[in-house]
Symmetry: C2
Subunit: 675 residues, 2 copies
Amino acid sequence: AFRGKHNERSVLFADLSADEYLQVRDYMINQKNLNISTNAITKPSGNFLFLIDLSLPKKADALGYLDEDKPKPVREATAVVFYGTRGYIKEYVVGPLPNPEYHRDVTLERYKEELPINARTVTIGEYVLLFKFLKEEVFTKLEKIVRESFNVTKENVLNAFEGMPRGVQSGDRHTWISFFRDMSGMYIHPVGFEVLIDHKSTNASLWHVTKLLYNGQYFSSVDDLIKKYEAGNVKKIVYKPIQNYASLKPRSKPTGLSPQQFYAQGKRYSVKNNHVMYLDWSFAFGLSSLTGMRVFDVRFKGERILYELSVQEAMSVYGSITPGMMLTKFLDTSIGIGRFAHELVRGVDCPYAATYIDTYRYIDISAPQRFRNSICVFEHNTGRPLRRHFSDFFHNSYGGMVNSALVFRTITAIGNYDYLWDFIFYQSGSVEAKVHATGYISSSFKVEGNLRYGHQVAENTIGNIHTHFINFKVDLDVRGINNVFQTKDMKYVNVSLPWMPERYAMIPQLVEAQLKTEKEAALRYNTRIPRYLHIASNQTNRWGHQRSYRLQVVSFTGDHLPESEPEERSMSWARYKVAITKHKDLEQTSSSLYSQNNMWKPAVDFSKYIEDNENIENEDLVAWITTGFLHIPHAEDIPNTVTVGNGGGVILRPHNYFDEDPSIQSPDGVFISPG
Amino acid sequence: AFRGKHNERSVLFADLSADEYLQVRDYMINQKNLNISTNAITKPSGNFLFLIDLSLPKKADALGYLDEDKPKPVREATAVVFYGTRGYIKEYVVGPLPNPEYHRDVTLERYKEELPINARTVTIGEYVLLFKFLKEEVFTKLEKIVRESFNVTKENVLNAFEGMPRGVQSGDRHTWISFFRDMSGMYIHPVGFEVLIDHKSTNASLWHVTKLLYNGQYFSSVDDLIKKYEAGNVKKIVYKPIQNYASLKPRSKPTGLSPQQFYAQGKRYSVKNNHVMYLDWSFAFGLSSLTGMRVFDVRFKGERILYELSVQEAMSVYGSITPGMMLTKFLDTSIGIGRFAHELVRGVDCPYAATYIDTYRYIDISAPQRFRNSICVFEHNTGRPLRRHFSDFFHNSYGGMVNSALVFRTITAIGNYDYLWDFIFYQSGSVEAKVHATGYISSSFKVEGNLRYGHQVAENTIGNIHTHFINFKVDLDVRGINNVFQTKDMKYVNVSLPWMPERYAMIPQLVEAQLKTEKEAALRYNTRIPRYLHIASNQTNRWGHQRSYRLQVVSFTGDHLPESEPEERSMSWARYKVAITKHKDLEQTSSSLYSQNNMWKPAVDFSKYIEDNENIENEDLVAWITTGFLHIPHAEDIPNTVTVGNGGGVILRPHNYFDEDPSIQSPDGVFISPG
Ligand SMILES: [Ca+2]
Ligand SMILES: [Ca+2]
Ligand SMILES: [Ca+2]
Ligand SMILES: [Ca+2]
Ligand SMILES: [Cu+2]
Ligand SMILES: [Cu+2]
């Protein structure tokens, strides 16, 4: 039922295979002068090969190969090494695959400065030491207090959840760790105990506890807490067992299956390697361990619409009176969004009949890891017409077609939260990028003053107010790479009526503008933004209008962060609902792996892409789209936030791109006339 | 699979049956002193029984019956008579049904003033005369011109499309009629010929042509056009046959069925009379000929959430240089939204397996009419989880459930446009009201200057810029009728960090407010509106928070109309994204049957509901929600506008209404743990 042939060239964008990860890993180990370890629990003091991921080809090279039969770009990997012995991080490009022969330090090229070691993600190796430290320096020493307060014994522990960023200035690695009951869904079981650990040194023997919070009261040291507790100067928390309200176990027996979708006449899409075909659509796909899901070379009827559509970043800022959440600003790419694309559950995460695809990753590990069924692809009947018209006047007839579309999906469970990522391909030529949030909220222990930062949602538990900001990269190429950015809107104009000129009326007119520079086209969230935004070609359609795709953003965002805050630079993309930049291979992402732990001097500050205020007329344009929602948690977030209403996205819609709606060509069209 | 029993009392809200319509009709005919005709083509000079519709019970009476075993309110109808002989319109309440014994003139009670006859909808009877007038006074006289220009002959005609309002001041009935090729989808085949007819008099022999537009040139009379045409002073339109680009006939053969949804284990909902049950949900429904689809007494687990959720109005303002569209401002309720709820096509408009319900109406007709399968109800698997969480830390497990929800739908094809109306009932306790637009755009002939008002979308055809504004009435009753209106939002506050008090940071705090009066709670579209809006009870949930439902509006509206325009009063509801009023039985609707043709002195001016600025604390509150989108037509609107991205709505979400997410009780929950 599908048209055309798979494009073998799509492998250009394919993630590295298990073999390729091994080739890169082994090549890197063999560079003896680099002195790299691949032990999965390498200590911060060692040199750790943290990440291997596809290094994307330069766009010009890729287009040459795809469109002009130029040679296939060399396949290369990015390798990230945390040099604990040297105090810095290096990014290398390693190639050519499959038999690497070279590595090139691209750190300065990509980030314009060296990457300090404390900008690194906390590795499993560091967590092992942190947990050991907590056990020895906190829980063992506080044995009586944690037993009386939280029932911590040899058998029973508490679970940790970290606040981020880790401090207040560049170089800090100073983390508030909050403790939660050791239950499933622990994120909504705070116990009221938080510890501030300085783990700045790569030498774990220099780590120390600098503060503790117990039931809302601060202590300068473990001993200080013990002393005051013994002296009766602490308002004690008395352990009480609790039913696990966070459990996701169903409380009702199944009483009949919900409706199911099936392919009565087979699938109308096909997946081969990393290439998908669906009716008139085709695209290549990949899953970056850091930024997550992405598609390339998206074509409709063979014509490229998008060079790239990708998830870039998921950011949240929290409010709290408790220190673990007070400063918390999560930048998920620094931990890895794609990293947490786990197996999808058939019939819940995606329909039973979907196609499930395995992915392979190499991040914070010693060998490539397979993630079974971590991408799903399916055609979905939305249960709604894509278009229809019934006429009972003049020409009595009915024409319509159901809205059946292809969904490309991953779900990433990054700690407490699960983000559902969908790219949807409609038969009308639209592509939608959508995100929904679900999973557990982050919470804090109820202490005085914390109701200013959220609602109580469970026993002693505050669901803290927070934002969700999501950034997508949308590299539309509308009839080639040379495009302009247009806005359209309405305005009322007082017009004399031609047939009674003395009479005036306010009539809506079309207002169009072409924005000239990156700064003009950086559309801030708190400003009046024209209602229609277009990436357009100077080529016109049959009716003389510039062919374009419109960007329709669906968003319920809060306020990202005042720009006065030093951390804001790490999330400066969130200032803009839509920002248009001139494409550069070196501006591949709006965020970076190194942003979370060095928010004050982030390796990527998106606003700098705009600062040079380049001309954007007849250039290769990239749209960076920010969406999300303000989340004021409420009781119904227990146990899990639901997806209904908790999302956002962008619809990319043809607007004079075609000469008419392409869905009129769909095999799904229905026409009924009398007699 | 469904729970509970059907509520027989829901018939309180049921539309009139065919028998009941007849009872009312016959009772009215028998009132000889009223001198009413029920002939479907009664002339404007006669007295015509235009409409019979359910007269809703007073809310207090209905609640008494539903909740307190008080007597069943008397069943009554509203009957609308256009008195051509007397120059006014009357609304009567007729009762009791099934054997009417009385009629009561409620015109003044409901509208505070008499309704002038020219506020009436144009009836079939008037259209018959208008078409006759056009034939005799325009087409016959212009025989040569319309033949040469448009191929109009005895066999070939043109079709008419009217602009509204009909004039520029109260009392006017002065309509620009534009002509279109006699093809299916004629709305996008303008020929460049428009005629202004004064049909103010109820005596059709006094009607006259006051202006004509031919190919962008105005003429003061038919003779004027003939004279100038013959003299060669007219830029002629030369008839050319054209392929029907408006046809909805598929151009491809079906090549495999799209995915279908089925109920593997039967339906989990049940419909009896006008009552629907679905898992924990139940509601009564009806379809007003004027305002359209509505539900009442919506309950979750037996507890009423909504007294009423209903469509109120669909409004569009157009821009054009041509007179037919220049002043056009459609108010669909005045023509009848529910009136055009026609048969739904299985497998396109709703899934094959949906339940289809017939409706009966009496509007502009002589006997009640049955509309087969004009409502559909179905459970829809959205293909997405309602919630899910996967944990690979600490407690490895998975919990989730698919988002399967009940959809209640009608589709109304009002001339060119089709609106798809959905009320969706989610297992998490949310209700969504959603509207999508599809069908044909309105268009105008391409003449100089018209590109300021839209894009060319087909041969000689401009798709005119216009707005879509939709109003919903949301009468939430949160734990009874006494509610308050709350807003919540975030704000950044500079806070000293408790563990290092010399250091400050901007932290998001929760800001809550309770609005006191109707004027405070009338939230204008062009103002900064708090992000969370709640109808709340003073009753608290388990965690001490006021139980509430949040209103989350999804909207892409343009600008409704400057308030300086006299027509604005007829659409003053569109000023507000959300407006809260104190419930009154006499403020049943935000618009009226009489608004379109008397926009300057509308029978209902919604802003007056707010003008008395009543207190809204601990009162029965009604939320009036405005959504919609700005439509700048483009080539892909040909032949039909697609639903993707062309809609809006409101999600009603529990917010501390429950003590936890009720979907945890769903039989659809899935839990997976290792081993
Ligand atoms: Ca730039
Ligand atoms: Ca581009
Ligand atoms: Ca009032
Ligand atoms: Ca109410
Ligand atoms: Cu959240
Ligand atoms: Cu429209």
